[in-house]
């Protein structure tokens, strides 16, 4: 019961902090002070209190988009184990539901963007659905490796490994999958080198350009859902990268929080060291991620 409460509390409260850590890391690299670590919370609080401006062109689809996205990401967050306790909801085949919930979010985000009738938001939608086609195979190769290594079809067992930990033969495939999943994480959460959350040129954006017309509470929902998505996908990645467990059972929670902080710093470092790729080069990166995960699969079943 306590584990469940901690899980839900972490899921609801922690994600905006990750954005703060990323921005702090980037500021540190650039030699700036940067915004406070809690800035995202302040932004959310401000947005929720504001009014909204809505385009005449739009319909109910525009308002549904952010809400559906938030609902799906929350549900997906309940399917993933955090720390060492199991996920609150776990059943055979939940991994498919997990992946397809993000599909539903994508459908609603992109249609909400198209509802405005803006060419920029059309571009964002086109990029979002195209790049997802390239990252989805990588995710499923990763699932295949995890299912094979753990002999299970529930996310909790797949990510925690079989009783007694992953076998030695699974280490090399897991490393490959870890690399691939990190790229998928960067792409799905729209970070450099795929997308730049701070850019100011509508032509070059993916995620930010789709939400140009959202404002006030709806924009807050989008921002919050985006941080949740990063948190949930990040939890998957950290389970793959740190597949072993140590210490007492309660140690799982602080370790998990530390892992997620570490991931945020790592994303910040990548964002500071790299430039955004040209849009036409993004597919190569995603195909490379798929190849890494596919290579891991071949290693696993050879």
């Amino acid at each position: 019961m306590i584990d469940l409460l901690i899980h839900v509390a972490l899921l609801l409260l922690f994600p905006p902090l990750m954005l703060g850590v990323i921005n702090k890391t980037k500021a540190w690299f650039a030699g700036r002070v940067g915004p406070p670590v809690l800035q995202t919370y302040y932004d959310l609080a401000k947005l929720v209190r504001k009014g909204m401006v809505i385009s005449d062109t739009t319909t109910w689809v525009f308002r549904m988009g952010p809400v559906v996205t938030l609902a799906t990401v929350l549900l997906a967050g309940l399917l993933i184990p955090f720390g060492r306790s199991g996920a609150p909801i776990s059943f055979a085949g939940d991994l498919i539901l997990f992946a397809y919930l993000f599909g539903l979010a994508r459908f609603c985000t992109t249609t909400a963007a198209l509802d405005t009738g803006s060419a920029f938001e059309g571009m964002g939608s086109a990029r979002e659905v195209t790049f997802a086609c390239l990252s989805e195979p990588a995710l499923f190769f990763a699932f295949l490796v995890l299912a094979k290594a753990s002999g299970s079809l529930t996310l909790t067992r797949m990510l925690h490994g079989p009783a007694g930990g992953f076998p030695m033969s699974a280490v090399a495939p897991l490393v490959c999958v870890g690399i691939g999943l990190f790229v998928v994480l960067l792409a799905e959460t729209c970070r450099i080198p795929v997308d730049d959350p701070n850019t100011h040129l509508e032509l070059t954006m993916i995620h930010e350009v789709m939400v140009l017309d959202h404002s006030g509470p709806l924009l807050g929902v989008i921002l919050y859902a985006a941080s949740l998505k990063m948190f949930v996908l990040g939890a998957v990645l950290m389970h793959v990268l740190v597949p072993f467990e140590a210490g007492a059972a309660w140690m799982g929670w602080p370790l998990f929080v530390l892992e997620m902080m570490g991931l945020a710093v790592a994303i910040g470092v990548v964002e500071s060291m790299m430039a955004r790729l040209q849009m036409r080069h993004v597919p190569y990166l995603l195909v490379a991620a798929t190849l890494f995960c596919g290579f891991g699969f071949i290693l696993m079943v050879r």
């Binding site: 009014g51 005449d56 319909t59 109910w60 919930l101 539903l104 994508r106 060419a119």
Partner: protein, 669 residues
């Protein structure tokens, strides 16, 4: 036994439903209403028959000797037939009601009666195909179905494009039937009779040949790549409720054929499942890749049907693989997902075709790049379209997700192969799940493009100006189909009983004999139900919160953000073609799109044109050139083809006498 008589009565009513109208005036609304009520009555009768058969312990069977020298009138109503009868009795009835608003006889005096006649005949012959248990009876029903579909789809034959699509369909379906005739001849040779009954013995080589013939013959009807050539044209040019029946139900007759033949053939080998899995994955990916490049709403939907047939074939392939490897769990999951997807596709694809028809009816164009902003003018159609699109993209909580989820679980279970075995082949089977994931992501792209271009944004042309929601006769069938999508998605447990029985029939084991392998045990369907309801509840709560948050707030209205450009126009929106452009580029190695781009010359823009079209790779680049070549050299044979019926009868007689002599002389020694 009553159940079988009910179904036979339903078939009779359906087949004859269009006749009374032919006696009435060609503008008579009465005649159309009569035909529709007969179709609905027949379908209700048939559904009652299926429900009664579900309660019977042994499948009811009827054998009546008849006038033909071969075979007999043999029909059986087993669980596999029941699975396929349900869409046959549901979709055409809804389509007929839709036709009351969409194809009013008073507005189409020259072809309304013809459409009614062949629409009913199509539905009735499909039902007969599904219960026939004799090769000759099956072929007769099959041919009646193929021809009825031809005459129903080509009612607007004044349009040359319709005639061309009709020809392609007619040729394709007859090439397929030719394979089926060869298959039944071989079947009779191997088993000694034309009766389609299981428990026969044959050599693996004969079994394999029969399987390949069935795959090709039925593959033409189902639309497996590269045999799908007839499908986009025929679906695009038929009246929309005929497209709905063709896509939602008639393609499934091809699937039924493959299911039935693989059930009858003893001892499938591993390569059968492998071939079907591979063909299914390729069909799925190529089908949806072609769909993304289309600009015609109905062609896009037709290619998406090809994709869904690919998914069904993958499920069948998994089940065959399970039977050859002795794995009941793969059988149950694979066949369960394939049959459930048959129902699901019948629901959402028919729904989407009916809405597409309403859009075309309201705007007069099938070009999606001329539409836009219809969600404001046709709000009900837009909501129903979202249901269909979410379902067809296999997204939770609707029905498409359930069948693909079963297939994923089955494919993932091939990872666990117990004691070694053919590891490479089975790893390939597991990799099919990656293909399925790719199909899923592409489907989202495709339907975001379709929905976004047609219903969202601002109108791109004047065609949209007078659009409005269709009236009740058209919208009620759509609502029924949408409820089917939601119902099968949220309460999939209801379907399990029939699916498990069908899997048992298919694998030729008695009910409950699959060991401990029940579908609900392998795949926790009740969890899917809870998660679906949970998602809907969460959505509802969040919507309420959002409503509460925006109450009393300043709500500004403005134009869409346009970067400060002073004179935005609707033509500056992203079009459907531009939305799909990147994906079309990525899949250009399959789809070979053709583009004509203007050359930029000089500093000032001049008037120029841009065109991009996506011809069907197989039809336009392979089949038609070959036929054109044949057309160059074969006219010499025209001396044989005089266009006089007497001469053709003479040919038939000569051939029969020749064959008779051959048989007599061959039997001598």
């Amino acid at each position: 036994m009553l159940s079988l008589w009910l179904v036979l009565g339903a078939i009779g009513l359906l087949c004859l439903s269009g006749l009374p109208a032919c006696l009435l005036s060609f503008r008579s609304a009465m005649g159309q209403r009569l035909a529709v009520s007969l179709v609905v009555l027949g379908s209700l009768l048939g559904l009652g028959g299926v429900a009664a058969a579900y309660g019977e312990a042994t499948p009811p069977t009827l054998h009546v000797p008849w006038f033909l020298p071969w075979g007999e009138f043999a029909v059986t109503l087993d669980s596999l037939s029941m699975v396929f009868l349900l869409p046959v009795f549901v979709v055409p009835a809804l389509g007929a009601i839709y036709g009351l608003g969409y194809w009013k006889q008073a507005e189409h005096p020259d072809n309304g009666r013809r459409l009614g006649l062949f629409f009913g005949l199509l539905a009735g012959s499909m039902a007969l195909v599904v219960i026939a248990r004799d090769g000759v009876l099956f072929l007769m029903a099959w041919e009646a179905m193929a021809l009825a579909a031809y005459f129903a789809a080509t009612v607007e034959e004044r349009d040359p494009e319709v005639r061309r699509a009709g020809w392609v369909y007619l040729i394709a379906t007859h090439v397929g039937t030719l394979c089926l005739i060869a298959m039944f001849a071989l079947w009779r040779n191997a088993t000694g009779s034309l009766a389609l009954s299981s428990g026969v013995a044959m050599s693996p080589a004969v079994g394999g040949t029969l399987f390949v013939l069935a795959l090709i013959g039925f593959g033409f009807k189902a639309g497996l790549m590269p045999l799908h050539v007839w499908l986009p044209g025929a679906h695009a040019n038929a009246p929309s409720h005929v497209s709905a029946v063709m896509s939602g139900v008639m393609l499934k007759m091809g699937v039924y054929g493959i299911v039935r033949m693989t059930a009858l053939l003893p001892a499938p080998e591993a390569w059968w499942g492998g071939v079907l899995l591979g063909v299914g994955a390729c069909t799925g990916i190529a089908g949806i890749a072609f769909a993304i490049g289309q600009q015609d709403i109905k062609r896009l939907l037709a290619y998406s049907s090809v994709e869904n047939i690919g998914i069904i074939a993958m499920g069948l392939g998994l089940a065959l693989l399970g039977r050859s490897q002795g794995r009941p769990d793969w059988v149950v999951l694979g066949l369960g997902s394939a049959l459930l997807h048959v129902w699901n596709h019948a629901c959402f694809k028919s729904l989407l075709f009916l809405i597409a028809g309403a859009v075309i009816h309201a705007t007069g164009t099938r070009e999606m790049d001329r539409l836009g902003g219809l969600a404001k003018r046709m709000p009900r159609a837009a909501i129903l379209f979202v249901v269909g699109a979410v379902a067809i993209c296999a997204l939770p909580p609707l029905n498409g997700f359930v069948s693909e989820w079963l297939l994923y679980i089955g494919l993932f279970r091939t990872l666990d192969r117990g004691g070694g075995g053919a590891s490479g082949a089975l790893a390939a089977a597991a990799m099919a799940s990656v293909g399925l994931a790719l199909i899923g992501a592409l489907a989202v792209a495709c339907f975001v493009k379709l929905f976004g271009t047609v219903f969202l944004g601002a109108p791109r042309s004047d065609a949209v100006r007078h659009a409005h929601d269709p009236h009740a006769a058209m919208i009620l069938p759509m609502i029924a189909l949408a409820l089917g999508c939601v119902g099968l998605g949220v309460l999939p447990m209801l379907a399990v009983g029939l699916l498990e029985r069908a899997a048992g029939t298919w694998a030729a084991v008695p009910a409950g004999g699959m060991g401990a392998m029940s579908l609900a045990e392998l795949a926790p369907l009740n969890w899917i139900c809870y998660m679906g309801l949970g998602l809907l509840a969460l959505l509802g709560v969040l919507m309420l919160v959002q409503k509460a948050l925006s109450r009393g707030r300043a709500l500004g209205k403005a134009g869409t953000w346009d970067c400060g450009y002073a004179r935005p126009t609707a033509r500056m929106q992203y079009t459907g073609s531009s939305l799909g452009q990147m994906l079309v580029g990525l899949f250009a190695f399959v789809t070979w799109p053709r583009r004509q781009e203007p050359q930029i010359a000089g500093p000032l823009a001049t008037k120029s044109r841009f065109q991009s079209i996506m011809p069907d790779t197989v039809l336009d680049r392979l089949v038609i050139p070959v036929f054109d070549l044949a057309g160059l050299y074969l006219p010499r044979l025209r001396v044989l083809q005089q266009g006089q019926t007497q001469i053709y009868v003479l040919y038939i007689l000569v051939t029969v006498i020749f064959l008779f002599l051959l048989g007599v002389l061959g039997a001598q020694p």
